[in-house]
């Protein structure tokens, strides 16, 4: 599929960079003029994905989180967040609501549920000890919500 615009970045798996990832996404989306809700949803989605990489992928260890943002035809936003952390042994288990491997940190276990709800598609590719890549797409339906396919 034709890529209309693309921005890639990598940063250390430091929790301070969760805000940086959101700010980067916001800036990337400005030309697409998303609605307030679309912007809020996508900011939440990238926050969840980057937090997952830091908390569950690297578990507090050093590492690099890579983000790729793309604008595709028909106002489809593509987000890819990858880490080279510990991977997810059982992806379907990890995607169950309220399941978390870090309950002591008050993790709600809702990251995947939020990412699924706020995107049109979510793909998880994970290899234990090699890392995880989350790929998501969300079509911007625009300010004229009554004409969703317009």
């Amino acid at each position: 599929m034709k890529i209309l615009n693309e921005f890639r970045c990598s940063f250390p798996a430091d929790s301070a960079n969760e805000g940086l990832a959101r700010a980067t996404l916001s800036a990337f989306l400005i030309p697409a003029d998303p609605t307030a809700q679309e912007l809020a949803d996508l900011r939440t989605v990238i926050s969840e994905a980057v937090t997952n990489a830091i908390v569950h992928g690297y578990r507090g260890r050093e590492g690099v989180v890579s983000v790729c943002l793309r604008m595709l035809p028909d106002r489809v936003v593509y987000l890819r967040v990858s880490d080279k952390g510990c991977g997810i042994p059982d992806v379907s288990k990890a995607m169950e609501p309220l399941y978390t491997t870090a309950p002591e940190e008050d993790r709600a276990g809702l990251g995947f549920a939020i990412m699924q709800t706020f995107t049109d598609s979510l793909q998880v590719r994970s290899i234990p000890d090699h890392g995880t890549t989350l790929t998501m797409r969300r079509k911007l339906r625009g300010h004229d919500s009554g004409n969703a396919d317009g």
Partner: protein, 110 residues
């Protein structure tokens, strides 16, 4: 975050601010818990009026405080969340653990 405890109503009022994510929630949690254990409030009011962003870390924050307050007979009120924050609260089923309110009740002391 600003905290205020009213001894008469036994309400702990917390004016949250900024962005609540995994990075910022640890500090908020530590400050809240110190006040909760110091006062054992009947009601913990979390005011979201000045919160511009919240992800599931905020849900974890609420669930954790619920687990502490519930055995002590306390309740939680989530006050004035913006629409996108309310959406996440609803998605997470937070109305089962706490009361979501848009108006400041007369009992709330700022």
């Amino acid at each position: 975050m600003k905290l205020h405890y009213d001894t008469e109503t036994e309400q702990l009022f917390a004016l949250l601010d900024g962005e609540i994510d995994h990075h910022t929630s640890g500090r908020v949690r530590a400050e809240l818990d110190a006040a909760v254990y110091a006062h054992t409030p009947r009601t913990l009011i979390l005011d979201f009026q000045d919160v511009t962003f919240m992800d599931s870390s905020g849900i974890g924050l609420i669930m954790g405080r619920y687990k502490i307050l519930r055995p002590l007979g306390g309740e939680i009120i989530l006050l004035r969340p913006a629409p996108h924050i309310k959406r996440i609260l609803r998605l997470a089923g937070m109305e089962r653990l706490a009361t979501i309110r848009q108006e400041v009740g007369k009992e709330v002391v700022q």
